[in-house]
Amino acid sequence: MSEQSQFSIRHTRPARAAFALRPLLWIGPAIALIVVVVLTPVVVMIHSSFENIASDGFVVGGAGFSNYKYLWHEPALKGVVFRTLLWVVVVVGVTLVLSLALAQLFNQRFPGRRAARTMLILPWAASVMMTALIYRWALDPYSGAVNIILHALGIVHRMGSTQADWLGSPGWAMFWMMIVAIFVSLPFTTYALLAGLQTVPSEIYEASRVDGASHWQTYRSITLPMLRPAILVATTINVINVFNSFPIIWEMTRGGPGYETSTTTTFMYILKQAFIGESAAMSAVNFLLVIVVVLVFLRVAGWKEQVDQ
């Protein structure tokens, strides 16, 4: 502190300004990176949502709000938005519940724990696209492994039938895609919660044992509250990831039949083939939607309390 004040006494104004700007030297590159890589595309995206762009990419002129108007009148939009919310809630919810259990399991000492923990990373380490493709082939109506098993069990009556074509009917396709999405989200979530579990001091558990608390009581009134920051972080990141999830849906159904398994992200991509401006409008709405969803979640979860802690 004293050094700083000496500095300011001895030096003239420009020098003082230069000193004040000195931190910029260190954080400048990071800020520049954020501006170029994060903010610029956002600005360009929002700008192009107000332009009239021909399907071969030439800008024909301004469009005002007409891209948003067309998007609003898109008959598929309502279903797409509803499906997106369902997709996020189910995938994140189920992932979280399963991860809480898994984290508990992996927090125990048992032989082979290290190997088991490593295996848990695998779905995370594998490319999501690859995982989605494997599931798609496993669900092939004529020769998919899942169908062969279900056929042998007598659940699927005939290979190659409509019943065996899981990805062809919107409801079942969503079901299977959710399974894949949960499968690839588990590792990160489990590890985030596992890290949280390991910060819980063992004295508290000892004290509760001395007081005669049951396992369930301990879990509810000690583990879960202590895990709250970890759950918050894991949920927020998952919500954003799952909301923007593209490869699973794209590789398994391309959002079809029609748009009946599309979420806002894949719908935006399909629109881009011919309606670039409208697609940009969808992106802008998507961006806004994810921000709103996250803000609402943080508010409900009492984000401020967590930070103050």
Binding site: D56, S161, A164, T253, G256, P257, G258, I270, Q273
Partner: protein, 423 residues
């Protein structure tokens, strides 16, 4: 200032990719081009799409050998060939035009926008016998009554059927009506195979749908080409029929999610009784090595009450660009390239059909291509409308839901979207 920097960077990138393109094409360096220019020689820049499946049959080979033969006859004109994979063709040509790095000739997709901007020579200016170009394809390459897109290679659709499965199911002859298709498909389905392959997924739903519309005298637009007719009674009837077939299980499950290529491969594997196809299906059948040439055949597509008199025909085009001012040289080259010899060589290499009357006549009695050739003069094209590209995308994405949903509602939705985009 910022903008200029960006521009400069773009130019560097473009130059670098151009260098790569030149290196890849394995042609002469910039200095030889200069030498040509000094002796008033001309180098034509020919940009072509690649129809090959790999290095062994790349289109570069075909064009380079033709260019060499041409150069021998016309020593003052050299032809520099750049070939581009189909997936990048549109965007790379667009980039060349935007950067004012004009080709002299392109072969592949044709853009009516360039004719509109006055960048193209007309067919008459660059081909002596332009009447030899198949007249059926004249309209799709025309702008305000003048032909700018010269058809180079074409294909038409026919109904392929598996003779082996037909014999097994006790079917005597190929179907010519919808009723026969339905009956035959049901018999083949009983054998545990797919009766009729119906690809209504995004890959090419607009083609499959049109073939059924035509069977009932329908289509995407009226004959005058000024009104969309996607939700016409004829079109809805066609999809009601298809819906019945799908519900009866006579097609593959959920046709709205099935793309053309995988189904063609299933036909080649002997798992499909009937499917609408183009000559491009033939190499897939041959590569499959399951069906010998006597075990399948192709016939005119079945319609509601009889075989189609006109089927869907598509073509790729040659376009000649004005900005470099090489009219005479382009004409010399195109006159050379459009000889029967080169037309037929190209079509044999890639199992496609010729685009000139004389070459088509030469192939009329060909056992493999004869039926396609006979269909060519009557072929129907997609609408010639500026909104078609967007309408097509809509059709590809949603028309398949008509066979599981309500045909009139799905087609009605497409109709109103098309009307919004432009009649």
């Amino acid at each position: 200032m910022r903008k200029r920097q960006f521009g400069a960077r773009l130019a560097v990138v473009a130059a670098a990719s151009a260098a790569v393109a030149v290196a890849a094409a394995g042609t002469s360096s910039a200095s030889t081009v200069k030498a040509h220019a000094a002796s008033s020689d001309v180098t034509l820049k020919l940009v072509v799409a690649d129809y090959g499946t790999g290095p062994s049959n790349t289109s570069l080979k075909y064009w380079n050998s033709m260019a060499a033969a041409f150069h021998k006859q016309n020593p003052s004109i050299s032809v520099k060939v750049t070939d581009i994979p189909w997936t990048n063709f549109d965007s790379e040509v667009q980039t060349m035009i935007q950067n004012k790095n004009y080709p002299d000739i392109t072969e592949g997709d044709y853009f009516s926008a360039y004719a509109q901007q006055g960048l193209l020579y007309s067919a008459k200016q660059v081909l002596s016998d332009s009447a030899n170009l198949l007249p059926a394809f004249k309209n799709q390459g025309s702008y305000k009554g003048t032909q700018y897109g010269l058809p180079w290679t074409t294909s038409s659709r026919t109904l392929f059927y598996n003779k082996k499965l037909f014999a097994k199911a006790g079917i005597k002859s190929a179907p010519t009506t919808w009723a026969a298709i339905e009956a035959d498909a049901a018999k083949i389905t009983k054998l545990g195979k797919i009766g009729f392959g119906l690809p209504l997924g995004p890959e090419e739903a607009q083609a499959e749908s049109l073939l059924w519309f035509l069977g009932d005298g329908g289509g995407y637009m009226n004959t005058a080409g000024n009104k969309w007719t996607i939700s016409s009674t004829a079109d809805v009837t066609a999809f009601n029929f298809l819906k019945g077939m799908v519900a009866a299980g006579d097609t593959e499950p959920d046709p709205g999610t099935q793309d053309r290529t995988p189904l063609w491969e299933k036909f080649a594997a002997g798992d499909v009784g009937m499917i609408n196809g183009s000559p491009a299906l033939i190499p897939i059948i041959q590569a499959g090595k399951v069906l010998s040439s006597s075990q399948w055949a192709s016939v005119p597509i079945a319609g509601k009450n009889g075989p189609l008199k006109s089927t869907l025909g598509v073509c790729d085009n040659v376009a000649a660009f004005k900005p470099n001012g090489h009219e005479a040289q382009i004409k010399a080259f195109l006159n050379f390239a459009y000889q029967n010899k080169y037309q037929l060589q190209f079509d044999r290499e890639y199992d496609l059909l010729p685009a000139t009357v004389s070459a088509a006549n030469a192939l009329k009695s060909d056992p493999t291509f004869g039926s396609f050739i006979k269909a060519l003069p009557y072929s129907v094209q997609y609408p010639i409308n500026t909104a078609w590209a967007q309408v097509k995308t809509d059709i590809q994405n949603t028309i398949g839901t008509a066979v599981t949903g309500t045909p009139s509602a799905v087609l009605g939705q497409l109709q109103s979207q098309a009307q919004r985009l432009g009649s």
